[in-house]
Subunit: 367 residues, 2 copies
C-alpha cells in the first residue's frame, strides 16, 4: 500500500474552509483504496506574512519539494494590499512558486454542466446543453516574469515604468504540445489566441502553433486575436474545444470563461511542470477563484473548485485516473441532485441552497 | 456659412458601404443647416496597398493634416495577412495614424439600448432596461508602441521575442483626466482597470488614478484587476459608468463590452489628441468593429457604428453638439421602430430585418 505525500497550502480567505472539504474527499477515497495520503500543512500568503513575516517561507518551499504534489487554496486580501507589491501574497508567494517549480502549463477546464446553465450569465439559447472548454495557459513567461521590470524617475521629473513581454520559441512549443495533446483526447480542435496584428511576441506564437500543428494531423487549428476571443467566448462558447494562449491573455480569458460557466467557484486548475518521464507531472492544483474575503469564514463558499482541483492532482501527479473520475462524477451527481451553494443558486425549481460543509458532505456521500 | 473639411478614409471590407451611409447622414444635416462639408476621400489599408503599394500613402497623411477631422472606416482582411506584419493594413496604417496625430484618448461608448437588450448575449435579467458604459482606452502607449520590440536568434538556435510595455506618469495622468472629466458629465463613477498585483506599469497606473481622483471630489473611483473586470462586465454591466484602462486591456475589454451590448456593428469610437484650446479636438472617428470580409459588398452590414462615429466627430472635432444629438436620436428612433440589420436581428415581434442602405435611409428620414 502506497503513501502519497501532499503539500497542503490553504492560504487566506475561504482557502482553509474549502480545503477542509477537499481533504475530506481525499480521505474518503483513501479509506476505500489501498493507498493513503500524508498531508504536510504549510503556511502561505497572507497567513504566512502574519505568522512568520513573509508570504513564502523557506519551510513551505522545502515541504513542497519533498511532496508528490501541491494542493493550494488561494492567497491575498485587502489586509495585505498596502504592503510593497513584491511582498504581497500574490507576487510574494504564488508567482515564485510557479517559477520555482517551472509550472509552465496551466490547465483550466471550463465546464458548464447541463444542469447548471441557469447559473450562467449568458442567454440560455447560447449555452443550452452546457459546454466544455479547456483553457491551456502558459504560466511562466510573458509579462509576468520578463525582465527588465523597472520604475525610473526621468530628468524632467516624470516617472517611467517598464514591464517586458518575452517568450522563447521553445517555451511556445512546449505549451503548444500540451494543448494539441489535450485536444487529441477531446474534440480535436485547438484555438490559439494571440495579438499577431500588433505584437512581435504573437507573430512568433502564431508561426510556432502553425508548425506544431503539422505533428497533429487529426487536430484542427484556428487563430483568434485576443480581442475577438473575448467576444467569441461570450457569443459562441460551444465553438471552443481547447484554447491555448500566453500568460496574461490566459489570465483574462480564463476568468472570463469561468464567469460564463456560471461561477468561479466551480473551476479547478492544474499548473504542471515538465513530465517526469512516467507520464506524471509535479504540479500545483488550485481553484481558479480568489480568496473571496467578503464571505471568508461564513461557511458558505463553494468548495467544488477545490475538490475538483484535488481530482486533477490525482490524475496528473499521481496517475489515479479512476479516482479522479470518481470525484468528478460525485460532483456532477450532487449538482444534478439540485444542491447549490449561494454563488450558483438561482432559485430554479428542484434546487436547494447549501453551505460549504453540506456540499462537501454530499460529495463525500456520492463518492 | 462655414465649410468643414473632413478626411474620409473608407478602407476595406464593409468600410466603403457603411461610410456611404454616414456621408448621406452628414449631407442631410448640412442641407438643413448653415454649414457644409468638404470631403477629401483618401486611400487607406488594403485598398491603398492594392492601389499604390502601401497601407498609408503620404498623400493620405497630408490630407488628414489639412482636415478638421478624420472619418475612418476600417482596414484589414485575409487578402493582406500574408504580408510582412509591419506592412499589413493594421500595423501599416491604423497604428501609425494614431501615433502620428497623438490620438491618445480612445472613447468607446458602450450603449445597449433598452429596445435592443434581446440582441445581447447576456441573460435578460442582467441587462434589463439596457445600460451605458463609456470605455476610455489609452491609445498611444503600452505594448503597442513600446521599444524595444525585437526578434533574436539565440546562440543555441532558439528564438526570443520581446515587446515592451512602457508608460510615463504624464501619459497616465492625461488619460485619467479624460476619464474623470467624462464621468462628471455622466453618473460620476470611474472604474480603473489594471493588473497591479503583477505589473510595475499597473502599480504606477493605480497610484496615479488615486492622485487624480483628488481633483474630482464629486466622482467615485473603483479599481478592478483586468481578469476580474472581464468577469464583472458580463455579470454586472450596469455597475460600470466610465471604465479607464491602458491600451491592450482597453482593446480586449472594449470588444468584450461591445459584444455584451449586442453587436460590434453598433459601437462608435472617437480617438482624440490634445485639446486644441477652443474645447475641440483633432480626432479620428471609426466604428469599433472590423472589416467583416465575410459580408463585405453584400449590402447587409450594420451602418450604425459608422453613423454614430460621425456624430462623435461633430461633437468632439467641430463642436456641433446639437447636430450630434440629432443623429443619436435618429438612430435610437429607428431602433425603437424595429429596424434591424442581420447582426442585431433576433426575430422579436415588431422588428424587421433590413440592409445597409435601408437602415441608412431610415436614419436620414428620422433626422
Ligand atoms: C493572483 C494573480 C497573480 C493570478 C495571476 O494573475 O496569474 C491569478 O489571477 C490567477 O489567474 O491565478
Ligand atoms: C486592428 C487593431 C490593431 C486594433 C487595435 O488593437 O487597437 C483594433 O483591434 C482596435 O481595437 O481598434
Amino acid at each position: 500500500s502506497r503513501t502519497y505525500k501532499l503539500a497542503v497550502l490553504p492560504g487566506d480567505g475561504i482557502g482553509p474552509e474549502v480545503m477542509a472539504e477537499a481533504i475530506q474527499v481525499l480521505d474518503t477515497l483513501a479509506s476505500k483504496s489501498d493507498f493513503s495520503f500524508q498531508y504536510d500543512h504549510q503556511l502561505v500568503g497572507g497567513a504566512a506574512i502574519d505568522a512568520v513575516g513573509k508570504a513564502l517561507p523557506a519551510e513551505t518551499v522545502a515541504a513542497c519539494e519533498s511532496s508528490d504534489a501541491i494542493l493550494f487554496g488561494s492567497v491575498g486580501g485587502p489586509k495585505w494590499e498596502k504592503l510593497p507589491p513584491n511582498e504581497q501574497p500574490e507576487r510574494g508567494a504564488l508567482l515564485p512558486l510557479r517559477k520555482h517549480f517551472g509550472l509552465f502549463a496551466n490547465l483550466r477546464p471550463g465546464l458548464c454542466y447541463p444542469a447548471l446553465t441557469a447559473s450562467s450569465p449568458i442567454r440560455p439559447d447560447l449555452v443550452e446543453g452546457g459546454f466544455d472548454v479547456l483553457c491551456v495557459r502558459e504560466l511562466t513567461g510573458g509579462l509576468y516574469f520578463g525582465q527588465p521590470k523597472s520604475r525610473t524617475t526621468l530628468p524632467d521629473g516624470d516617472i517611467e515604468v517598464i514591464d517586458t513581454m518575452v517568450y522563447k520559441k521553445s517555451e511556445i512549443e512546449r505549451i503548444g504540445h500540451v494543448a494539441f495533446k489535450a485536444a487529441q483526447l477531446r474534440r480535436k480542435h485547438v484555438t490559439s489566441v494571440d495579438k499577431a496584428n500588433v505584437l512581435t511576441n504573437s507573430v512568433l506564437w502564431r508561426e510556432t502553433m502553425l508548425e506544431i500543428a503539422k505533428d497533429y494531423p487529426d487536430v484542427t487549428l484556428a487563430h483568434l486575436y485576443v480581442d475577438n476571443a473575448a467576444m467569441q467566448l461570450i457569443k459562441a462558447p460551444r465553438s471552443f474545444d481547447v484554447m491555448v494562449t500566453e500568460n496574461l491573455f490566459g489570465d483574462i480569458l480564463s476568468d472570463e470563461m469561468a464567469m460564463i460557466c456560471g461561477s468561479l467557484g466551480m473551476l479547478a486548475s492544474a499548473s504542471l511542470g515538465k513530465p517526469k518521464g512516467d507520464g506524471l507531472y509535479f504540479g500545483l492544483f488550485e481553484p481558479s477563484g480568489g480568496t473571496a474575503p467578503d464571505i471568508a469564514g461564513m461557511g458558505i463558499a463553494n468548495p467544488i473548485a477545490q475538490i475538483l482541483s484535488a481530482a486533477l492532482l490525482l490524475r496528473f501527479s499521481l496517475g489515479l485516473e479512476k479516482e479522479a473520475v470518481t470525484i468528478e462524477n460525485a460532483v456532477r451527481k450532487v449538482i444534478e441532485d439540485g444542491l447549490r451553494t449561494g454563488d450558483i443558486y438561482t432559485g430554479v425549481e428542484g434546487t436547494r441552497k447549501v453551505g460549504t460543509r453540506e456540499m462537501g458532505n454530499a460529495i463525500v456521500a456520492a463518492l
